[in-house]
Point group: C2
């Protein structure tokens, strides 16, 4: 299995510079936020979102042309928006750890978590405006709205067994794919691609984003607490009904009752986990992820060959390889 | 004393429409946020910020020309940004009431308060991008960053008796005046005024915003708990060192010790309040507010006469009249 770090070879130096810039972002004037930022931007994130922006930037430019400061700034904005939304989600979900690391909210309190998230959102919209490209501002503003919408929907639909796979995909688009799709399109626009060719990069981001989310939701059932950095089946426990659960519901009617009574009786959760694992929900979810991976690859068809282009394709393999 | 409602006569209809739009904003799809929005936008706010945007819009257009949907949208964005920042400030400050009304955070919990604030910030940056004016996007993005910066500074400088009046004015600019100044300038730009003439509206907003904040900080000492909707001298208690306190510190050295030990001993707070009230801090703060009122009026000198122009001047009287 390839690691994300090896995979990102064509943009390795770009990503190192990005990480430094992000850590310095908050500045020494705000010691408490600085500690939070240090914590956030060092917390072992794979930088998949800015890596995609940087790869799309390189793949959409002529081979002899380097990416511009605007492409780099867009990559930073993408990671800042992602981080800001994680910090606020952790407050909303009252999460104590993420990827095994204590959250900002649990280490520094609600106060700093709300402030740090607001600061990152604010700084990213200011950076965004200063890219001087109205279309790019619109794309990324839409992302910020989609993230809020996704978190609200996830909250409203907890333990709701009437949720369909389409509802699930829509929520996953809002929470995960919108940022990847719109920032990939924005990178293509900054390279000077036409609106219609840039739309293909949007589709690449949309489908790899959905595949990524589906794989994450499968790993919640197949991974161990150690590799996940959180208790296994935590989505099920929280009533966040993901693809494996929704498919299992079609096959195992007993699951519905357990979910609707919110695992109120002893042994309910364990029984529900067993029902999901013994259904073909995980297998069908793998097929769903593979389908979106295929659509992501197809969206790259009109790009000229390049190292970055190849990496964008390999990245879709990497997303699915996490399952094996 | 003129009430804000009578004063806003030239934009009375505009403000009614704005209030309806804001209540409908969150939409029926999000029942919990809807309750929060209903609560927020009905909570007896005086709508001073959107009123200034609407008055500047009318005062900067030829007499026969009605304001555009973009002006109206800008007024809505202004109130949304203000409300979003209040909701998050109440989480950060753990405030239970604002203007005597329970806060979103105390009525609906941290979860909804963070979500509602994020949703309003997100929706306002999306509305903003769709005004299709890059300069306006930059001005309002700067405001969102200033609000975050102001809240952080206020937190860092609590109980810091080394704070100067200039630091206080800078913090007040970030927390209060930046929104009024930049949205007034944006309204002028949307009316087609030149950059240099629009800058006068920025100055009007900056100075009336500072006067407004100074008056608020005086009222914390001179108002009763009932009219304030919060305990009297709550700024002092929280270590938020405002103009009356900073002036009092120059005159009453005993105050410094009480503040630096954060009112740790019984009777400390009462003694500190008495020291501020018996100093000339309140009187000097009144002069400071009057000075900024004068600068606000001067900034309007090049506007042609109109009902809205007159109201913008009267509004500076209203701000100071709250003291008597």
């Amino acid at each position: 299995m390839t690691s994300a770090t090896t995979l990102f070879f064509p943009v390795e130096k770009d990503l190192l510079q990005l990480t430094e810039n992000l850590k310095n972002l908050v500045g020494i004037r705000h010691p408490i936020l600085y500690a939070a930022a240090e914590h956030l931007f060092s917390a072992g994130g794979k930088r998949i979102r800015p890596a995609i922006v940087l790869l799309v930037s390189r793949a959409t430019l002529p081979p002899n042309q380097d990416i511009t400061p605007h492409h780099r700034r867009l990559a930073e904005i993408t990671e800042m928006i992602h981080t800001a939304s994680l910090v606020h989600d952790d407050v909303v979900d009252e999460a104590n750890t993420r990827r095994g690391v204590p959250t900002v909210h649990s280490s520094f309190g609600n106060r700093i978590a709300v402030l740090a998230g607001d600061f990152l959102f604010a700084k990213s919209s200011w950076y965004l405006a200063n890219l001087n490209n109205l279309e790019v501002v619109k794309l990324l503003s839409q992302v910020i709205m989609d993230l809020a919408e996704g978190e609200i929907r996830q909250g409203l639909k907890r333990f709701d067994t009437a949720l369909s796979i389409d509802d699930y995909l829509e929520k996953s688009y809002y929470k995960t794919a919108s940022l990847i799709a719109n920032s990939a399109k924005a990178a293509a626009l900054l390279s000077g691609l036409s609106a219609s060719r840039s739309e293909n990069l949007y589709l690449y981001g949309r489908h790899i984003g959905l595949a990524f989310q589906i794989v994450d939701d499968i790993l919640d059932f197949t991974g161990s607490s150690e590799t996940l950095g959180k208790p296994a089946a935590s989505d099920l426990q929280d009533g966040n009904l993901t693809a494996p659960i929704l498919y299992a519901l079609e096959q195992q009617p007993a699951l519905e009752l357990l979910i609707e009574r919110e695992f109120a009786q002893p042994g309910d959760l364990e029984q529900a986990i067993a029902l999901v694992r013994s259904s073909d929900g995980i297998d069908r979810s793998r097929h769903l992820a593979a389908h979106h991976r295929q659509l992501a690859i197809q969206s790259l068809a009109d790009l000229p060959p390049s190292e970055s282009h190849t990496t964008l394709i390999e990245l879709t393999d990497y997303v699915l390889s996490r399952l094996y």
